[in-house]
């Protein structure tokens, strides 16, 4: 291997590592706030990418029907209580389950997104995927919010299987690739840097900074961190666990959808590709012990690099090598936590 190949592999690794880092952050956030190990994180990636691809092929993405169906069920389940409560809360509820879905349906069915520019199509795809997060939290996880971590994990696996199945129905078995955001490319020394990789890196960095500012500087961000740190303390301040859960899931969906839209021009995405991508983010999150955001992001970057270099040396084993990384990490983690117990 010469320097040029190494640089090329490193560039590849950093680009996919950036995506895994985003997913790792979403997984840590969801777990910290709701204790759900969110296996279906990757499905948001696939839904984001394939929804965008559907617009470009002039099809109506099934994501819209899922959004409408979930909104309708929530209207039936929560409608009566919201009606009794009345006032501003009821209007807000209606905006979420009637107005927003209606706007989305109008945009997709009447707005002819096929003819829209790529950035507008991307935003519409994101707007379709984002509400799935809080909707799925409301219907799937909120009723069992107090259950054990294991039970929440099993529910997450079930939801993952359901979403993959729906993905097959919505988008078919063929893979899709979307055109890149930028055709530009630059030669830096002997290395060719594509505009799309810069898009991925820039957007990931932007999202990470935005998340950081939200959690450090805003009251709602602090409220979410407080829930993750001390559930009872947060509830006593009037921060509802349900509210925090919905926000965490909204972030998970936005991050997943955005990741999908970003990588759709780089890799071909199938209805079930999301799972593998999500798992790699999960390996990163595990490196951070499902608790530390910076370590999780660094771990995910490491996963990206490992994957890219092992695809050069032993491409048949590249997935094996990436997932083997989890074993020494787990050993090291359990050894470390054992030490702490002894000290106490």
């Amino acid at each position: 291997m010469d320097l040029q190949i190494a640089l090329l592999l490193a560039q590849d690794g950093v680009v996919s590592g950036a995506i895994y880092a985003l997913l790792a952050l979403a997984l840590v956030l969801v777990f910290a706030v709701t204790r759900v190990v969110f296996i279906p994180q990757g499905e948001f990636v696939a839904y984001g990418a394939l929804t965008l691809a559907s617009f470009q092929m002039g099809k109506i993405p099934g994501t819209l029907w899922l959004l409408l169906a979930l909104a309708f069920v929530i209207l039936l389940v929560d409608g009566p209580a919201a009606w009794r409560q009345g006032g501003r809360g009821f209007l807000l509820f209606l905006a979420q389950v009637v107005l927003y879905p209606a706007l989305m349906a109008a945009a997709v069915l009447l707005g002819q997104p096929h003819a829209w520019p790529l950035w507008a199509q991307s935003l519409l795809a994101l707007a379709l995927v984002a509400p799935l997060g809080p909707q799925l939290y409301r219907l799937v996880f909120q009723p069992v919010a107090e259950a054990s971590v294991l039970m929440l994990l099993i529910v997450a696996v079930a939801l993952h299987l359901a979403l993959v199945g729906l993905g097959l129905v919505f988008f078919g078995a063929e893979g899709s690739r979307t055109p890149p955001f930028s055709e530009a490319s630059w030669e830096v020394g002997s290395l060719v840097v594509s505009g799309q990789s810069l898009w991925v890196l820039g957007a990931s960095a932007g999202l990470i900074v935005a998340l950081y500012l939200f959690f450090e500087k805003t009251l709602y961000g602090k409220a979410l961190r407080a829930t993750a740190m001390n559930r009872i303390g947060a509830r006593l301040m009037g921060i509802s666990t349900t509210f925090a859960g919905k926000i965490a899931f909204l972030f998970a969906a936005v991050i997943g959808g955005a990741s999908g839209i970003l990588i759709a021009p780089i890799t071909t995405i199938y209805y079930d590709t999301g799972f593998l991508i999500g798992l790699k983010g999960f390996v990163g999150a595990i490196v951070g012990g499902l608790a530390s955001y910076p370590v999780a992001a660094a771990g995910a970057l490491l996963v990206g690099l490992l994957e890219s270099f092992s695809s050069f040396w032993a491409s048949a084993y590249k997935e094996v090598l990436v997932f083997t990384l989890i074993i020494p990490v787990l050993l090291w983690r359990s050894w470390q936590s054992h030490q702490v117990e002894e000290e106490e």
Binding site: L219, K222, M229, I232, G233, A234, L236, G238, I239
Partner: protein, 247 residues
């Protein structure tokens, strides 16, 4: 007699198998300090948890601020100005003292108030120590400072009813005296206080009215000065006959 801010009638709470509360009734008037004393495991914490909605009630009724609740929900109670300082403090250990305090005003902000900076100034005036440590992580505070932060965070919600669970636990007598002096000041400003304490002597000195809770039931109640004179209370809780030291 003025209208009670909190009126609990015939409340029963099941909490696993160990602690329970049976048919408890009590009332707190605005600006009044009411204490619930009793031995460990009598159900004092369970009682407070049920009143604010952390635990479900099995039976009975809670009337608070003119509204009757058959099923209490935590969020409604906090929104109506009821605040609990729990026994374990439940601070946000990884966050700064300032952030802990600002989160205390979370519900007020949701309700549309934007006065947390003024409230913060009054809290800092009450606890100058918190102002000095504003940027420090809550987890690094000493026991007394933690209790001050827990109370300060509760005050950020501008409570109408402040409930405290064992605020003196594990604290030096000097700090306990300071905290109790602040509670008296708050009551003078019109805040109703419901204080659960094992430190019966200090609690009865501070309070206007007292209840003795034993194995989940109200064994005795009366004006605080009368309760301190009561032979049974003196023997069991003030340690006069048994010689049990009370700080």
């Amino acid at each position: 007699m003025s209208e009670a801010l909190l009126e609990v009638s015939d409340l029963s709470v099941a909490y696993g198998q160990i602690e329970a509360v049976h048919h408890v009734s009590l009332r707190v008037l605005p600006g009044q300090i009411v204490t619930v004393i009793g031995p460990n495991g009598a159900g004092k914490t369970t009682l407070l948890s049920a009143i604010i909605g952390l635990l479900p009630c099995k039976g009975g009724m809670v009337r608070y601020a003119g509204e009757a609740y058959a099923r209490v929900t935590l969020e409604k109670m906090v929104a109506a100005g009821m605040v609990l300082v729990p026994e374990k403090r439940e601070l946000f250990a990884e966050m700064s003292v300032l952030d802990n305090l600002l989160l205390g005003a979370f519900m007020r902000r949701r309700l549309g108030f934007r006065d947390e900076r003024q409230t913060l100034a009054t809290v800092f005036a009450l606890f100058p120590r918190l102002k000095e440590r504003a940027q420090q992580r809550a987890g690094t505070l000493s026991g007394g400072e933690r209790q001050m932060l827990a109370i300060g965070r509760a005050l950020m919600a501008r409570p109408r009813l402040l409930m405290l669970d064992e605020p003196s636990l594990g604290l030096a007598p000097l700090i306990v005296r300071e905290i109790f002096r602040i509670l008296a000041d708050l009551a003078a400003e019109g805040v109703a206080i419901l204080l659960v304490e094992q430190n019966a002597r200090a609690a009865l000195q501070l309070a206007d009215y007292g209840y003795v809770l034993e194995t989940g039931e109200i064994a005795l109640s009366g004006r605080a000065d009368e309760l301190s004179e009561d032979a049974r209370v003196a023997e069991s809780y003030l340690g006069q006959a048994a010689g049990c030291p009370v700080a």
